[in-house]
């Protein structure tokens, strides 16, 4: 299997007033294509910082990140945005759907951003069907349950066939039943489409759904 993501000796220091706060203290990690990886650790251990660095939302203070052969660290802000658009899909704890758009509209927006106006209704319907949302296509987020909203968010993250899906506590705001449903969908994407998924979680049951679990503490992988 090919290496889809490589992080080398990553460090990230935040400047808070006059104080330097180290969030990552040298993280090295390799993720293979098709891997379903869980990242666990206590609050403040640097999980989210690492995820944001992998997605190009932050630049590291030191170290390198290579996503699907493209060096994020050496890239300008616009280049990182371009890599993120083509290769990364995000799923957030708070779903982060656009409230004024329907489920299909949220996917359509992702397509438009990805390929400057591209429109693939068949692809959208296929994904929504796979995530059991075919009868919710024309519903707005306020008309959907938490589990349904997160599945729409997952659909939006994968509609453009990204190299990696980065999920930040995707079951954090869901009850047990919906958590299980969403995790099932993650597994199905991973199994059927060989989708690489890196998921931050506090939930041991969520981590159990993954192929590999890494633990972090105080900015290190332990």
């Amino acid at each position: 299997m090919a290496t889809i993501l490589k992080a080398e000796d990553l460090e990230k220091v935040y400047r808070v007033g006059k104080v330097d706060v180290p969030a990552l203290r040298g993280v090295t990690l390799t993720v293979q294509e098709g891997e379903f990886l869980a990242v666990m650790g206590p609050s403040g251990c640097g999980k989210s910082t690492m995820l944001h660095l992998m997605g190009g939302l932050l630049t590291p203070t030191k170290g390198r990140i290579i996503v699907d052969g493209e060096d994020l660290t050496a890239a300008s802000d616009s280049k990182r945005t371009d890599i993120r658009r083509r290769k990364i899909g995000f799923v957030f704890q708070r779903f982060n759907l656009f409230p004024t758009l329907t489920a299909e509209g949220n996917l359509r927006l992702a397509e438009r951003i990805h390929a400057n106006g591209a429109d693939d209704p068949d692809r959208r319907r296929e994904i929504l069907r796979m995530l059991k949302l075919e009868d919710k296509m024309h519903h707005k987020p306020l008309e959907l349950s938490g589990g349904e909203q997160q599945r729409v968010a997952l659909a939006r993250a994968v509609v453009n066939r990204p190299a990696i899906v980065l999920a930040d506590e995707p079951t954090g705001n869901l009850d047990t039943e919906n958590s299980a449903l969403v995790l099932k969908m993650f597994r199905e994407l991973n199994d059927r489409f060989n989708q690489t998924i890196i998921m931050i979680t506090h939930n041991p049951e969520a981590a159990a759904a993954c192929q590999r679990v890494i633990q972090m503490r105080d900015g290190h992988i332990v």
Binding site: H52, G55, L57, L58, S78, T81, D82, R84, R85, R86, I88, F90, F92, N96, F98, P99, T100, L101, T102, E104, G105, R108, L109, A110, I113, H114, R156
Partner: protein
């Protein structure tokens, strides 16, 4: 259509409506003032062209559409008739009076028989004025509920009886006898100017020069120069119009800037989501600009409608005439669009430069 732009506008209907009205205000201001200027100007030109005299004889320092004094002696009438090439000379007093609470209107004092012969106007109803309290009006003024037999108030509360209606419109819409005007203005044997008809219109310049040489110390003008456009006769008006256009653009821009700034503050997290999805700076700016332009387009449509309505009602209530020109409509539309686009530019740039992680965490 599932569009972020349309749905964002619909999500905050009151704010969107206020933004639209802000743009509409700028467009309405431009259309109303230019429409009024054009209407007054064209109306003046139209009525002036029916005067038919080629030359106007006045005193130095007077002349132009704002002149209302009666300080020229009528003795010049006979003197003008003796100049070679002159066919007729008719004295006119022009005077402005307050008309209702909105307007100012003008009335002329003329020797009715001589004036009608020179101007080719004809009575369509009634007769010419004889007594001091008798008045004739044109069809436009008559259509505002002033038939023959009705009364018009001039000079405060003084009643004048409508004894005739004439057409076509020529000069002021209301005319008294010359003697009546001289009486009310306490200016016996005086007038504002004398209309001069030449025997051969091709020689009007030569006749004008002859008058100037023989009756020196006065002002001789061709009628075509005497009744210029309103803009030319009121020098500050052109500057006022330019300032107005700039103000309209600034108003539109400020309203849209404020609306977009508020919108972006409220949607900080959404902008963070867009950035997380890989939206470029250009994309974010274009989305915000598209929203601003959509508001501007609606504002332009509403502005045109408001201008048309306002013009209609103002015309109904006053004697003011509006003529909306296509080029000013295009200018007003460009102002609306440019104001909206420029107003949204700063908020859009700010949005595009937001830190995505902080934006995603924004509550």
């Amino acid at each position: 259509m599932d569009s972020l732009v349309i749905s964002n506008i619909r999500q905050r209907p009151l704010r969107s409506a206020i933004s639209v009205l802000g743009v509409a205000l700028g467009v309405t201001l431009v259309m109303l003032f230019t429409g009024l200027s054009r209407g007054m100007s064209d109306d003046l030109q139209r009525r002036s062209s029916n005067v038919r005299a080629e030359i106007i004889f006045t005193r130095h320092g007077l002349g132009g559409v704002t002149s209302t004094t009666a300080s020229l002696s009528t003795k010049y009438v006979d003197l003008l008739k003796q100049v070679e090439g002159v066919e007729a000379a008719v004295p006119v007093i022009r005077h402005f009076y307050a008309s209702g609470i909105w307007g100012v209107d003008q009335v002329e004092g003329v020797d009715w028989d001589a004036f009608t012969k020179m101007s080719n106007i004809r009575l369509v109803q009634g007769r010419g004025p004889r007594a001091f309290d008798e008045i004739v009006i044109d069809e436009t003024k008559a259509s505002r509920n002033h038939p023959v037999g009705s009364s018009l108030k001039l000079y405060g509360d003084k009643d004048f009886h409508v004894v005739g209606i004439y057409a076509p419109e020529s000069g002021a819409r209301a005319k008294l006898s010359l003697e009546a005007m001289q009486n009310y203005l306490e200016a016996p044997e005086k007038c504002t100017y004398i209309l001069v008809k030449v025997k051969n219109p091709a020689e009007q310049i030569a006749v004008a020069r002859r008058i100037d040489q023989q009756l020196q110390g006065n002002k001789v003008q061709l009628t075509s120069e005497f009744f210029p456009s309103v803009e030319k006769s009121i020098p500050g008006l052109a500057i006022f119009m330019r300032v107005l256009v700039i103000l309209a653009a600034v108003v539109s821009a400020l309203v849209v800037m404020l609306a977009m700034h508020t919108t972006i503050t409220e949607r900080t997290r959404e902008i963070g989501i867009l950035k997380a999805m890989g939206a470029s700076r250009r994309y974010i700016i274009s989305e915000i600009e598209r929203e601003a332009l959509a508001i501007s387009v609606m504002g332009i449509v509403v502005g045109f409608a408001l201008a048309a309505l306002a013009g209609f009602f103002i015309h109904k209530m006053t004697s003011l005439i509006f003529e909306f020109g296509i080029w000013w409509a295009v200018t007003a539309a460009i102002i609306g669009l440019a104001g909206g686009a420029l107003g949204a530019l700063y908020p859009a740039a700010r949005a595009a430069n937001l830190d995505p992680v902080n934006a995603l965490a924004y509550e």
